[in-house]
């Protein structure tokens, strides 16, 4: 979560296109929810969302509320459905991004007493990017322990060879 926050802050100025951006904190929350269940998912969403709100300088709690909701729902769905393949995970990331944005914009509109505003293209772009990053993250993390082990084993075998 801390890494995601740091990266998000660093990449905040980098926009793909004119108004789209990735939400690495949301990606992290969805990953945690899928990997560890709804309780960890909502906890991660609360912490990540509140931290992101605090760093953004707006009303603290809107992002937390949205990410908590998304983390919980993703965790529940992940426990009920088999989400081990890339495609279902991608769909989960995309749906989570859309749901998060809907909730976030609705709360923001309610608080500011203004009408709801949606930028559909930006939302689709962000959802696709989040999905792609999420899949890559899953692949990296899942293959990570095997890779380390193999490297360790290679190192040991090399050290045992005597020329």
């Amino acid at each position: 979560m801390a890494v995601a926050l740091t990266l998000q802050s660093t990449l905040a100025g980098m926009s793909v296109g004119a108004s789209a951006s990735v939400n690495l904190v949301l990606v992290a929350v969805v990953y945690v929810a899928l990997a560890f269940g709804p309780v960890i998912g909502l906890t991660a969403g609360a912490i990540g969302g509140l931290a992101q709100d605090a760093l953004s300088g707006g009303i603290i709690g809107i992002g937390g509320f949205s990410k908590t909701l998304v983390g919980f729902l993703v965790g529940v769905l992940g426990a009920h459905f088999i989400v081990s393949q890339p495609l279902p995970r991608f769909i989960m990331f995309v749906a989570a991004t859309i749901a998060h944005d809907l909730c976030f914009q609705a709360l923001a509109a309610l608080v500011a007493s203004r009408p709801l505003r949606f930028q559909v293209m930006a939302l689709i772009t962000q959802a696709a990017l989040n999905g792609a990053i999420g899949i890559i993250a899953f692949q990296v993390i899942e293959s990570g322990p095997g890779l380390l082990q193999r490297r360790r084993m290679r190192g040991e075998s090399l050290s045992r060879r005597r020329f």
Partner: protein
């Protein structure tokens, strides 16, 4: 212990509620008051209102139904108190009225040079056609027959014989057997005031007034003193109607100044009757006093 799914659900709700409270604490309503404060106050005011209504309902129920046991007894006591107070009020009212009458009598007593004693009317006449009253003064007080009796408004009557030691009968001037020598105050037209039949209104008439005399309605009629009984100048009444008669004398009716229906306190003039003046021998009573 709660099921894991229930715990997860409660945790989720708790976290969401915490977020909402956090947001509410930062957002201000249109009035400038934080939303959290507005919502909290509104919510608790509803609870307070409901609690107050509940307490009021219980209290009302207790007061209206359970507490009625003592109300009936209290009601009876209060009714008795009210009755007692009403009786006392009437007594006080009667005392106040008597005070007013005695004050008037005192003024009369103070204003006249004639010796008088106050007396109370204690009884009326048992015979309807005989208009007399009984007073609580008698020979022991110096009362004698043919002494005049007066009131604050005017002449009442004369003492009739025999006089008891502590009581005496008084013939009212409206009795059909009574008569008083009288003059009109304005023109000094002399005549005789007499009592008319019971039931006539007004109850007095004035006779022996010449048709040539100037007497008209409203003229005050006073005692002339010629009969030797009633003190001169005391008011008898006022002329009600005055018309020329068929003969030599006018037909005059007189309304008495005294209200004989509410006679309670009178003054007895302690001057013995003297004979009528020879040149104006108007009898004190048509059938004579005994």
């Amino acid at each position: 212990m709660l099921d894991i799914r229930q715990r997860t659900g409660y945790l989720f709700l708790a976290v969401m509620l915490g977020h909402l409270i956090l947001i509410s604490a930062q957002v201000q309503s249109k009035t400038g008051v934080p939303v959290l404060e507005t919502v909290t106050f509104g919510f608790f005011s509803r609870i307070q209102g409901a609690a107050s209504a509940l307490v009021g309902g219980v209290r009302g129920g207790w007061g209206n139904y359970v507490d009625l046991r003592g109300v009936r007894t209290e009601n009876a006591q209060l009714r008795q108190q009210v009755s007692d107070l009403e009786v006392r009020l009437q007594e006080q009212h009667a005392l106040a009225s008597r005070g007013v009458r005695l004050e008037e009598l005192l003024k009369l007593k103070s204003s006249t040079t004639l010796p008088t004693i106050a007396a109370s009317v204690i009884a009326g006449s048992p015979i309807p056609d005989v208009l007399t009253v009984t007073i609580d003064r008698g020979s022991a007080d110096g009362v004698q027959p043919d002494m005049s009796v007066i009131g604050p408004k005017g002449v009442v009557g004369r003492v009739m014989g025999p006089v008891a030691a502590h009581a005496a009968r008084v013939q009212l001037i409206i009795d059909r057997n009574a008569a008083i020598g009288a003059v009109t105050e304005r023109t000094r037209a002399g005549g005789l005031v007499f009592g008319r039949s019971s039931g006539d209104d007004p109850p007095l008439g004035m006779d022996l007034v010449s048709n040539l005399s100037d007497v008209k309605g409203g003229d005050v009629v006073v005692a002339s003193g010629v009969d030797g009984i009633y003190p001169k100048g005391f008011v008898i009444g006022s002329v009600e109607a005055s018309q020329p008669g068929p003969g030599l004398h006018r037909v005059i009716t007189v309304r008495p100044a005294v209200d004989f229906s509410s006679l309670e306190e009178v003054l007895v003039v302690m001057v013995a009757a003297r004979g009528a003046t020879p040149e104006e021998s108007a009898p004190a009573s048509r059938q004579g006093a005994k």
